[in-house]
Structures are given as C-alpha cells and as structure tokens.
C-alpha cells in the first residue's frame, strides 16, 4: 500500500507506463486492430489458425454433405469434443513444460476398463468406481513424475513405455470377454449420451462470460487508474463483452434448435475455465510457464521445479482417466478399443492446433477447447462422408503435421521478432 501511496503522491504528468516516447501505444479500436496485425505478423498467431481452420472445414464439409451443419450433428460433435477435450486439457499441462505424455490414450482406456470392471463386474457403487479410476490416473502420473525427476528418464520414452504397459493392463482387466456393457439407465451413461441443459439455463449461462468480462474489466480499469497506470477505455471492454455474448448466445440458440447443449460439454468448458484461471492467475500457473520457458531460471528463482513437473504429469494422467470414464459413458461400454487408435494423437494435436507450443513455455487452457473442436469437426465430417478409416487416419495425420509445422514456423518468426 505504501508503494501505491508513494507513486500517487508524486503524480507524474503521464501514466507510469507511458513515459517512454520510443514506444507506440495503440489505443482505441484502430489501435487494437493495428496491434493485432503486428502480433500475427511477428508469429503470435493466437486464435487465428483455429478461426481460419473452422471456416474452411465447415465450408468444405457442408458443401459435401449439408447434414454437417444441422443442429443435432453439432450436438453430437460437442459430445465427442468433451471426452477427448478433457484429455487434451491434461496434455496442455505437460506441453507447457516442454514435455509430453504419449500414453494418455492408454491411460484413458485403462481408466475406462477399471471403472467398468469395478462398477459393473465387481458391483462397486458408481462413485467409488469413478474415484478408483481417477486414483489410477494420479498413480500413473506420479510414476511418470518419479521416473522423470529421480531417474532423469525423458518423458517421451517413459510415456511411450507406459503406452504399451497400460494397454496391456487394460486388456488384462477386461479379460477374455473383451468388453463390459454399462447399464443404459445409469445416471453416468445418461450424462454421457442424452442429458441436456434446460434451454433457459443454457441461455443464462451463456450471458455469464460477458458479464464477468465487464465486471472484472471494470475493476481492473479502476485499479489501474488509481495506481496511475494506463488503462483501456470502457468502449473496448463493452465491445468485447458484446461480441462474446453474441457468439455464445448465437451458438446456444442454434444448438437449442436441436437437442440442446450437452451437460457433458458444460463440464468440459467448466474445467477449461478452471484450468485457465489456474494457468494465468495463480503462482502455480506462473511457475509452470517459467519452468517451461527456462528451467534453470525458475530453479534459481526458488521454484520447486520437481514439484511443478510432478503436478503437470499427475494432472495430465488424471484428466486422461476422467476423459476415459466419460468416453466409456458416451459409448455405454468399456472395451478393448477404448483409448486406442487416434485418441492419443487427437488429444495432442488439439492442444497444438489450439496454440500450445510443443517446445514449452506457451499455452493456454482454451487451446484444448478450440483445438478439439477443430479436430472433431474434421473427424465428424469424415464420418458423415462414410470414408474408410484408412483415409480418415491419413487425413488426421496430415492435419497434425500441418499444426506442428505452423507451430514451428510461428516459433521461428517469434524468435526473429524477439518475442520468444
């Protein structure tokens, strides 16, 4: 507080952060646009690849099959997004540190098998079976953290080994039957297949982000003015909130023309918002970014680097386990196929497409949300076209390659523009 007072009493003629004449300060809507163009040109792409990708994808698939944009198809798409999206949210955590978890698919498959076997075969209560599956995720993550921190095993190798070992464990748990059907009338399967938000609630929730944007933004503007820092105007804030609300309400309205907004997608979005807060507004999130950017600097700053690695691996495996259970509820079965095939790559590709760098230090929770929508939009469109899985794999592989190329090029451009 004394610092604030001191600064205020001096009252320099300009704002504290506007005294350097060499810097161009972009203000107003025109300035915002100019700053945005500068950012993109220097390789800070933000949401641009996602926006462009979605427009291109929906144009192509709608032209090939008009059903693609039908409300109910989009509702299905959101159901699919939620399961792999939650896995991808965990991937964002490890990618932020410049590490990787290649076993998230197997972890999710194991969690689904464990859950199905405990709940249906062993007759455990649903809640306990769910907790057991999540604990399995925590244990797997702790194991990776141990291998990484104590034995110096690269996460790439440790998780590649885990991919095989966990798949083996999944097959062992499922035994000869190979799959366990989950009861259709159970709340979890209903949650994974048909539970929709009431229309009024989905609209009400859709307004909240805009309201929060305005409230938080006004508080920041007030505090920055008090502290003699430059603050943006109300106009930009209101504009941002209006656009946000219009987009969300538009989507909600369109989905409500069909079956509505799935609760499961609501859960996914809630997790994304929580993780975004954790990444940007907590000391833990700041430490994650620091370790991903410069491990040695973080260590010297007194950050417990090992604990940060452990938290990332554990979160990643736990999210994978949760995603596995939700995938089981979506299919109403725990099977040998759960978590195999393209689940791994889709989860990783989603994070990268959404803007999380493979090289560490850059990422956001929203990249999981945006990226998985792009990935599922492609997968869904290909399914509608009745393409064979050979073609689908090839196309998904190409999309992943393009995403990584964009990331590498953007990184190179950022380096040459001095933006890390």
């Amino acid at each position: 507080m004394s610092q604030l007072d001191q600064v205020k009493s001096e009252t320099p003629p300009q704002a504290l952060d506007r005294s350097d004449v060499r810097v161009r300060h972009d203000e107003g809507i025109r300035g915002t646009v100019r700053a945005f163009i500068d950012r993109v040109r220097s390789g800070d792409l933000g949401m641009l690849p996602v926006a462009v990708g979605l427009v291109v994808i929906s144009a192509v698939f709608t032209a090939l099959n008009p059903v693609y944009l039908a409300p109910n198809n989009l509702v299905n798409l959101l159901f699919d997004c939620a399961t792999v999206g939650i896995i991808s949210l965990g991937i964002v955590c490890v990618l932020m540190l410049g590490e990787i978890d290649l076993s998230v698919g197997s972890t999710s498959g194991l969690a689904s098998a464990l859950f199905g076997s405990l709940w249906v075969t062993q007759g455990w209560p649903l809640g306990f079976a769910l907790i057991a599956a999540l604990v399995a995720g925590v244990v797997i993550g702790s194991l990776y953290a141990l291998l990484y921190n104590r034995l110096g095993m690269p996460s790439f190798v440790a998780t590649l080994a885990g991919l095989l070992a966990l798949l083996g464990l999944q097959l062992y748990i499922l035994g000869n039957a190979g799959s366990i059907n989950l009861p259709y009338q159970s709340p979890l399967v209903m949650f994974g297949q048909i539970l929709m938000m009431p229309k009024w609630l989905s609209h009400a929730l859709g307004v909240l982000p805009g309201i929060f944007t305005i409230l938080v933004g006004m508080r920041v503007i007030r505090r920055r003015r008090e502290a003699n820092l430059s603050a943006g105007g109300m106009a930009g804030l209101l504009f941002k909130a209006a656009v946000l609300t219009a987009v969300i309400e538009g989507v909600v309205y369109y989905l409500n023309l069909g079956r509505g907004v799935p609760w499961m997608f609501g859960l996914f979005v809630a997790l994304v918002i929580i993780m975004d807060y954790a990444f940007t507004r907590t000391k833990w999130g700041r430490s994650m970014q620091a370790v991903g950017g410069n491990k040695e600097a973080a260590r010297r700053a007194g950050i417990n680097v090992r604990r940060i690695y452990a938290s990332a691996f554990i979160l990643c495996s736990s999210f994978a386990a949760l995603g596995g259970v939700l995938a089981a509820s979506r299919l109403a079965s725990s099977s040998q196929q759960a978590g195999t095939g393209d689940v791994n790559l889709n989860a990783i590709a989603a994070a990268v497409i959404g803007g999380t760098s493979l090289f560490g230090g850059r990422g956001s929770a929203y990249s999981a949300l945006l990226g998985i929508i792009v990935i599922q939009a492609i997968a869904n469109g290909l399914t509608l076209l009745n393409l064979s899985s050979s073609l689908r794999y090839m196309i998904t592989g190409a999309v992943l390659a393009i995403a990584v190329i964009v990331d590498s090029l953007a990184r190179r451009s950022r380096a040459s523009h001095g933006r890390a």
């Binding site: 610092q3 604030l4 001191q6 600064v7 504290l16 952060d17 350097d20 060499r22 810097v23 920041v220 505090r223 920055r224 502290a227 003699n228 820092l229 507004r281 907590t282 000391k283 833990w284 700041r286 430490s287 970014q289 620091a290 991903g292 950017g293 410069n294 040695e296 600097a297 973080a298 010297r300 700053a301 007194g302 950050i303 230090g361 850059r362 950022r414 380096a415 523009h417 001095g418 933006r419 890390a420």
Partner: protein
C-alpha cells in the same frame, strides 16, 4: 594505496566483512585467507585473472558454496550462509552472469518470479506498479513491462535482472560480469545503474575483467591472485600497479611501456 585508511574510516562499520575465508575443493585451495570489507553506499570491484577465485568467492557469498574456514560478518553479526535462500533472506542479492530470466514471460512476471504475493490470486496491478517503481528508481528505460523479456536488449535485460534483485530490498548486491556481453552504450547504461544502486545506500560488489568499467564506478578495487588477496587499490592508482597485482609480475608489457614513457618524459 596511500589514502585508503582515511577513506574506510569515513564509511564506518562495514555491511559485509570477511576474515580468513578459505575454500578447498579436495586438494585444491581455491581461496586462502581472504579478507574483504564492503560498506553501505560503496562499490567494491573484485578483479583478478582467470582462476583467481572471484567466482568461488561470489558463490560463497551467494550461499551456493560454504567456506572451509573463516568468518563472515553481516551487519556486524557473524552469519552462516548455508543455502542461496539464507543469503537472500539476510539481504545479499546476486545477479549472475547468465541473467536467469525467463524469455517467454514479461518483465513484471520475471521481476516477481518465485516471489509472487497471493499465490491463489495474483495481483497484477500491484506487481506492475512495484515493477515500474523499481525501474523508475533506477531511471531505467524499459519500453513496456508487458512485453516478453525476449524483446529486450542485453542492457535492458541486465536492468531487469538488477531490478529483480532489488525487489527484496537487499543491503548488498553482487554483480557477476555485468558488462561482459554489452555494447558501449549499454555498458554506460549499466554503469549508471550501478551508481544509482550505490546512491540508494546499498553495498555493491562488482566482478569485472574490464579495467575501464572498474575505474568508472568502483570506490575500491580488491585484487585476487591465485586465491589470495593481492592488494586493495583506488581508481586513482595506476594501471601499472593494478596489472602487477593481478598478474603478480612487475615486469610485463604495461610496465615496460610505462617505463619507456617515463623515460621519454624525463628526457624532454
């Protein structure tokens, strides 16, 4: 070396005082019986050739290494620097040669890294105000504290690293080769910065190879040679004496040129 006693008496009690510090790595004596005093508001330059023990001494003061024997007094109290955290808590800040900044984070985040208040609800406004206050006290010219450090020049990064070390309000700050990687203008900027840190009443230990820089800001020049004290000088002392103390030889290129110069002056 004539006016040194007066000078140290004028400064009063030293902030930091080392007596008989030795450090052995196995059979190697890296430091033997080092004596060093640093007063508040004083810049002490630590110079010496490669292997003279400058870095070992800095690491002992930063709490990275522990001395094999000897006494460290800080503010008159005998202290043990068991870990980097101990040194920081006492008020000894170190700016290492590789500045240890996270290039992907902005200036505010770097200054506060590992010392964020309110871990569950970072107060960006308060942190930004404090960052600007620190930078303004140093009269630093940083275009924006919200740009990633990657976009800053070498001198600006040094500024951020120094501002970062001042965050905990230390009493003594150690700078390891602060100008080694910098150009002319940036070096001048950092030397100005060191003077401003001194003006704030901090003790400064500066390690440098560059005699120009040392003469520009140092109040006293402490020379180490082969792990031992090799004399204390003032910036007014001649380069010839300094080089002799650093190399241990009175017969070298500098002294020969000096002799020729004096001889030719005497002839005229």
């Amino acid at each position: 070396m004539s006016d040194l006693p007066d000078y140290t008496q004028r400064l009063g009690e030293p902030v930091l005082s080392l007596r008989g510090i030795s450090k052995n790595f196995g059979a190697v004596s890296a430091l033997t019986d080092i004596e060093l005093d640093v007063h508040a508001g004083e810049v002490v330059a630590l110079v010496g050739d490669n292997g003279a023990g400058k870095s070992t001494l800095v690491k002992i003061l930063a709490g990275v290494h522990q001395p094999s024997s000897g006494v460290i007094r800080f503010n008159g109290q005998e202290v043990a620097l068991g870990s980097p955290a101990d040194a920081l808590n006492l008020g000894i800040a170190t700016v290492f040669q590789d500045l240890a900044l996270c290039e992907n984070l902005d200036v505010v985040a770097n200054i506060y890294l590992g010392r964020e208040q309110e871990p569950w609800r970072l107060d960006e406004v308060a942190m930004e105000v404090r960052a600007w206050t620190l930078l303004n006290e140093l009269s630093a010219r940083i275009p924006s504290v919200r740009e990633p450090v990657a976009s800053l020049s070498g001198g600006q990064r040094q500024t951020v690293a120094i501002a970062r070390s001042l965050l905990l309000e230390p009493k003594l700050i150690m700078l390891d080769e602060p100008t080694a990687a910098l150009g002319v203008a940036q070096t001048a900027e950092v030397l100005n910065l060191i003077e401003r840190v001194r003006a704030r009443g901090l003790g400064v230990i500066m390690i440098s190879h560059n005699m120009e820089d040392v003469r520009a800001v140092a109040d006293r020049i402490v020379v180490l040679r082969l792990g031992r004290n090799s004399g204390v000088f003032t910036p007014e002392d001649s380069n010839h004496e300094l080089v002799a103390a650093i190399t241990g030889a009175s017969e070298n290129a500098v002294s020969r040129r000096m002799n020729r110069k004096q001889a030719s002056e005497a002839m005229q």
